[in-house]
């Protein structure tokens, strides 16, 4: 066996857009019409487009490989070609071993069957034998956390329960090659963490995993190499951080070309006083540059800057107007550049500076760019959570029942009046 798990060689996939004849009622008149007219042939070329054009890559056995790209890049087509549901128009796909696609979970569920029956149904759709499912049944139920509902028809399940059961089954298939869609984002935070853990275990057990995703975090977490697709073309294949950087600049380029909005945000970048920077220390000051391009005249515009944590939970927001800089008026072709300075009193982790354009007067949104930039914050303190309160322990005493008293001051600094005050507050005012 070679050590290449998946190899795609110069794959092309053509689609026809526009109306297709999907009923006899339309087909018969169209055919008779065609007998009299010959000009249809030219039309046909125009209606064809390439969803994938000349895509080649190799994934080694046991590797996690990412495929990213904006909407319409050909990711879904790629998944379908990889899972062999669609045949490429040209080119070849070689896969070593059993492929299983963890895509749109629960597509195989039947509403009227119970959870138990659906585990068997979905399991065999995913390619497991009955005996295999029986042996893993308890693990699957256990993982889904739905033991008490397992004999309830799934139509009574909530969408979260549905998705959890789907993930539980799909993640127990143990294929040689696993295709993963946006499935790590189902369920609540706890289940998501469990899913991520499970995925990590699957990779550790030697499965080859292909992630096809919008979610850069997932790709960055798991994949060593990533392919970036745009309009069916492979833009770049390389190490994940490089590819993600390219993806970001591709997005900026697409934004600037987007004529459908009157004003667009074309750039959100982080830097320190010296230059572009993505890695900051907790408490350090960062500058965020936001650039806006106007396609149409637009007045009373405010730039809003907000910060998301790694779960896309908003932590902080401000705007040019709220910071007392008023609003601006832009004419077509104008660009607006503004720079925010923020002090990153954040806990260690990944954060996404984001921006949108807003008119306070009419409460109107113009453009919004979520997670436009990514920054990493590290801190000297070993803390968890999104904020850094710069903690210090300035007193720790043990009063033993013994006659001898053990008393320890951690550092000389803790004797300063300022720190003593805060320690006292902590002790008395906050029960």
């Amino acid at each position: 066996m070679s050590d290449i798990a998946v190899r795609m060689e110069r794959v092309f996939k053509k689609f026809r857009k526009g109306e297709m004849y999907n009923s006899l009622r339309d087909l018969v008149p169209a055919l008779t019409g065609r007998m009299f007219r010959q000009r249809e042939l030219n039309d046909r070329d125009k209606r064809e487009f390439w969803a994938l054009e000349d895509v080649s890559f190799e994934v080694k056995r046991g590797e996690a490989f990412g495929i990213i790209g904006p909407n319409g890049a050909g990711k879904s087509t790629m998944l379908k070609v990889l899972s062999r549901v669609m045949k490429p128009t040209r080119g070849a796909l070689h896969v070593n071993g059993k492929v299983s696609a963890m895509i749109e979970l629960a597509a195989g569920f039947h509403q009227d069957l119970t959870g138990r029956e659906n585990i068997y149904l979905y399991g065999s759709i995913m390619g497991m034998s009955k005996r295999e499912i029986t042996s893993k049944f308890d693990d699957i139920v256990d993982f889904s956390g739905l033991a008490e509902f397992i004999d309830t028809p799934v139509k009574r399940y909530s969408s979260g329960m549905y998705a959890r059961l789907g993930f539980a089954v799909a993640s127990h298939v143990n294929p040689d090659v696993l295709l993963v869609d946006e499935v790590l984002s189902v369920g609540d935070a706890l289940f998501q963490r469990k899913s991520v853990e499970r995925m990590r275990k699957i990779i550790q057990n030697g499965a080859t995993v292909l992630f096809v995703s919008h979610n850069l975090k997932t790709v960055a977490d798991f994949c060593s190499h990533t392919l970036l697709l745009d309009h069916g073309h492979p833009v770049t294949i390389g190490s994940t951080p490089d590819t993600i950087t390219q993806y970001m600049s591709l997005l900026q380029q697409h934004r600037a070309e987007d004529q459908s909005r009157p004003v667009v945000i074309t750039k959100v970048t982080a830097r320190d006083a010296a230059g572009p920077c993505h890695r900051f220390h907790s408490g350090q000051k960062a500058r965020i540059d936001v650039e806006v391009l106007a396609h149409e005249p637009c007045s009373k515009l405010a730039v809003v800057l907000y910060l998301l944590d790694q779960n896309y939970y908003p932590l902080f927001a401000t705007s040019t107007e709220r910071l007392g800089h008023g609003n601006v008026m832009l004419n077509p072709g104008d660009t607006l550049q503004c720079t925010f300075e923020v002090q990153l009193n954040l806990g260690p982790g990944v954060y996404y500076p984001s921006a949108n354009l807003f008119r306070y007067e009419s409460q109107q949104w113009f453009d919004s760019w979520e997670a436009a930039e990514t920054i990493y914050v590290c801190s000297h303190e070993d803390i968890t959570g999104p904020v850094n309160c710069f903690p210090k322990v300035i007193r720790q005493e043990v009063h033993r029942g013994d006659l001898r008293e053990a008393k320890s001051h951690l550092s000389d600094k803790s004797e300063t009046p300022e720190n003593l005050g805060s320690a006292a507050n902590r002790g008395r005012d906050c029960p």
Binding site: M86, Y120, S124, I125
Partner: protein, 261 residues
């Protein structure tokens, strides 16, 4: 084609699971449960009895038990064929998600639909056996033909099922056309009447490949006779060809399913 058959064999468990799902869902959804399997045959038998009664009145002869037996024996395979074709016709379009997202041999859907209908047939056969015992039809050695006749029926149903399933995926109105054929097909098939009633002209009826099979069911179970072998051979060849042709047709179109559904 050998590769494809090998793959189908590999996925045989999924075939049973899908057939089992279809049966289970059908029986779960219907309040009548098992009655579902015998409802359609009972309706066919009742309408057959009405038709037969009209013949009897027109011919000034009393209605015989043998006439009713004949209708009952032939209704079951006919009901099986109709429900197989009807369910396989919808089997791909009803499982759109699976067709577009997961790879496995898609003939599992129409064939699974045929197997699920076969289950209904078995349940209904149980009821028919009780009926035949009650009216003292008796039995003969010719009954050993029955499994073979049934196999021919299944072959034919699977062949036609694959064709209509694939066709209805590409053309949404195929199902209406199929429905019309299924509704009026009974008039061109000896279910209510017997081929013998037409005398010499009966052979024209037997050109319908379903007719010799149904006639053979009537002969073996009801009349204790041997089937009309030359005509039966004609049906068997037709069924075999429809299975091979239907499978080839289905496999030829299969790569386009995910794009067109």
């Amino acid at each position: 084609m050998r590769e494809e058959l090998k793959e189908l064999y590999k996925y045989r468990e999924l075939l049973y699971t899908i057939a089992y799902r279809d049966v289970k869902v059908r029986y779960k959804q219907s309040i009548m449960g098992v009655l579902w399997a015998i409802l359609m045959p009972i309706l066919i038998v009742l309408s057959g009895v009405v038709v037969r009664y009209a013949y009897a009145v027109a011919a000034h002869v009393p209605l015989q038990t043998a006439d009713i037996t004949s209708v009952a024996v032939k209704s079951l395979p006919w009901a099986f064929l109709v429900s197989s074709i009807r369910f396989s016709c919808l089997s791909l379009t009803n499982n759109k998600d699976l067709v577009t997202k997961v790879y496995f041999p898609k003939e599992i859907f129409p064939v699974g639909a045929v197997l699920a209908s076969l289950f209904d047939f078995m349940v209904a056969s149980g009821a028919l056996t009780i009926f035949l015992l009650l009216v003292h039809t008796g039995w003969s050695l010719y009954l050993i033909w029955v499994p073979f006749l049934l196999l021919t029926m299944v072959t034919l149903a699977a062949g036609i099922g694959m064709v209509v399933a694939a066709a209805s995926l590409f053309f949404r109105d195929v199902k209406f056309v199929v429905e019309v054929f299924l509704t009026f097909g009974i008039f061109f098939t000896p279910v209510f009447y017997d081929v013998a009633m037409f005398g010499d002209k009966g052979k024209w009826l037997l050109l319908n490949p379903v007719s010799p099979i149904l006639d053979a069911f009537g002969a073996c179970v009801g009349r204790h006779q041997a089937p009309d072998l030359p005509w039966l051979a004609y049906s068997v060849s037709f069924a075999a060809l429809s299975l091979i042709g239907g499978y080839a047709f289905f496999k030829h179109l299969e790569p386009g399913f995910a794009e067109s559904v």
